[in-house]
Subunit: 438 residues, 2 copies
């Protein structure tokens, strides 16, 4: 059994604010050697296409690919994997997919228009992207739930074609991941990964069609490649380690809360689990539960390192103060384990996902509650949202001026254009003014 | 008078596709020397705050700042500028602001929830960002319309505080820009620019509070700095040169269409103006109009260079083919200058803004029609949208499980968690299962 420790803080002390800064400090490493390697890979794949993808894949994933078609899987291959997996796993994946789909259908946005008194029509047309690419990590971090969460919103949005890349190091591929791709409606899978897969999706190769957006988590090479191709294609946020913040009044079973904290801590040594409670005795009880429950957790070593390095049990004055602290942290996952938790919603300003009440374990949201598990980490909930259907739709403004509308607007536009020294703008507007007035 | 020339293409020829690729080729220059300079500036401002901002500002903008308060303007300063500008400019700015505000109010998104049969509640809460920063270029590219277009959506979204940075090279500042800031509801202006201003907004200094998102155009140093701080804060898309694509059936006055093309071309030598028409005679007429109208345009030199290098008049089979070409280009601005243009909307897949009918000059959209003039360039309309209220709001998922809901979901989650080797996730879900069943 590992040594167990977790930080204890008190929000009422003078140095709490600086202690909290220390607790939250985390910065993604910008590694210039990684960036240089990634720049080489991107350039090679852009210039040489599949040949470069095959070389890098053979080198990094220890494979012996001869030609591109060997890394291409079609819908039939995915369906075959779906037939191979155990029945309970299949029905759980299908149940989860159905709930995720149903929730995300609420996010669909519709085009709109309105007409002004003079006949001018303004609006916004919403359309889906044509083709998107989903990155799925290989090996142990290859999660079927992640395939569902990334692909289903794209499918609901109406994306024409969904491509997925997943590396197969030493030719190992997860049937669960392929089965999830079949269920989620992925069109094609390429068994490639790393910066070379990101490059193939961003620039296109002979075998891989260029996509409009790349989503999904990956290691530092993948993250660095996504950052480099940003602008050429759209990307999702670069994810940091997962975090949970639990606010509890002290009335939930301490074992439940401890296990919720452990479910983050087991992800990764850098994951962060924080509990806020106004009940010091409850914090003690949870601390004891943590120690007890850790002992027979398969991933005990990772979880205890995460709790020791980045965890905290924090005493607060009351639930209101807990929410203030939470808003400052802008957590990825926020559990509000209290009576009538919905009363606090209007005060919660920044959080990726909010889990209300004693029965809403964060883990339910990871798999099957319906909302997406791709959430803003490291305080980025201040400015970003869960992955959603809106990430795969885009908007076009619509302007249709009536002759009268063009007359009115043309005068204003011409005045402003002249103020900015743009004469052709002014004259283009004024042509439409002449028609109906003076 | 400059020599006039513009490319003529025919969409019916065998090599049209590759000619179109050549026409569209444009890539933002990734300059490693610029990146290194920017990295230095970001590091210095992060470490030394205002002192570094002052040093860079004095060096690059030829100023003699002694302390940070000299680069800070308050609401009173903005209101004073508003009083100083000519009455016609003021009323044009106010009219434009009112229309932009009214249009953007249609973009406000509302929180939503729904309850399932077993009592579980799912939803999404929408909140505004707390503080955003707007970058406004200095000197000749300092456009008051751009202040309105960037600040008003943030104000409509409910952002608490809007900061603006605008450099004042040689102590020159535009009253029109400050007046637009007053009208748009900007809270504070800092007369700084370049990478040092982006750094101040992203990291915060003694005088400049850290923001959640940075929007607005800038030179290569600004674009490079925005790319580098992406993730620390949100940023908008990195803009390329402006473009217009006009589809015309040949029945609009060729002078009107020519002036619409010139209104893009006068922006910048790299701007792109393309006309598609099935009427070869009309293409000839527009070519003659361009030559004639160019002659007395103050920005003749820029516009003729833009037309020669990047412009094109393209013969198409019919309007349907024109729309196919347009979808491939995914233009920033698309004018559909035909009868009953609204019939083509369902076929238009990718465009930043769509201007329908003969009276809707693109210039009206630049200033006062209502929709935003910050639009996706260089084909990025394939995956991005006009700047809007949605860029300053973000979402939090809401999950509130009933005991029965937690029981149902807990079983599915536990099965999937075990499949992924995450035991604490499974046990956290199973605690909530025990309560109500077996």
């Amino acid at each position: 059994m590992s040594d167990f420790s977790i930080r204890r803080l008190d929000a009422g002390t003078a140095d709490f604010s600086s202690e909290l800064d220390t607790l939250l400090a985390w910065e993604s490493v910008a590694d210039t050697r990684v960036e240089a390697t990634v720049a080489d890979i991107l350039r090679e794949v852009k210039a040489r296409g599949d040949a470069a993808v095959i070389e890098y894949t053979n080198r990094f994933d220890r494979r012996e690919l001869q030609q591109a078609q060997e890394f291409c899987l079609q819908r039939e291959d995915l369906k075959a994997a779906l037939e191979r997996i155990p029945a309970d796993k299949r029905s759980a994946l299908e149940a989860a997919a159905e709930r995720v789909r149903s929730y995300h259908e609420h996010q669909l946005q519709a085009s709109w228009q309105y007409q002004e008194a003079d006949g001018t029509v303004l609006g916004q047309q919403i359309t889906a992207m044509e083709r998107v690419g989903i990155y799925v990590p290989g090996g142990k971090a290859s999660y079927p739930s992640s395939v569902l969460m990334n692909a289903i919103p794209a499918r609901v949005a109406g994306v024409d074609e969904i491509l997925m890349v997943v590396p197969a190091p030493d030719n190992q591929l997860s049937d669960l991941v392929l089965a999830a791709a079949a269920i989620a409606g992925v069109d094609k899978v390429f068994t490639i990964g790393g910066a070379q897969a990101v490059a193939a999706l961003a620039y296109g190769t002979e075998a891989v069609a260029r996509v409009d957006k790349i989503v999904g988590p990956g290691n530092i090479f993948v993250a660095s490649a996504k950052r480099a191709v940003f602008g050429q294609v759209a990307i999702d946020m670069i994810a940091g380690p997962s975090e949970i913040l639990v606010i509890c009044d002290g009335e939930t079973d301490p074992d439940w809360i401890a296990m919720d904290l452990l479910s983050q801590a087991e992800h990764d040594e850098q994951a962060q689990s924080i509990l806020l409670s106004p009940d010091a005795g409850f914090l003690n009880a949870v601390e004891q539960s943590l120690q007890k429950l850790l002992a027979d957790l398969p991933r005990e070593e990772i979880a205890s390192r995460s709790l020791a390095d980045r965890g905290a049990l924090i005493l607060v004055r009351d639930i209101e103060q807990a929410i203030e602290v939470s808003n400052r942290i802008a957590p990825e996952h926020l559990e509000v384990s209290v009576d009538t938790p919905e009363q606090y919603l209007p005060k919660i300003r920044h959080a990726g996902a909010i889990f209300l009440g004693r029965y809403t374990a964060e883990a339910l949201g990871d798999y099957c509650a319906g909302p997406n598990h791709v959430l803003p980490t490291s305080g980025t909930a201040r400015f970003s949202s869960p992955l959603g259907v809106y990430d795969f739709q885009k908007r076009s403004s619509i302007i249709f001026c009536s002759p009268q509308g063009a007359d009115t607007l043309g005068r204003v536009a011409a005045t402003l254009a002249k103020g900015e020294g743009l004469d052709a703008h002014a004259r283009s507007a004024e042509y439409r003014v002449r028609e109906t007035s003076d």
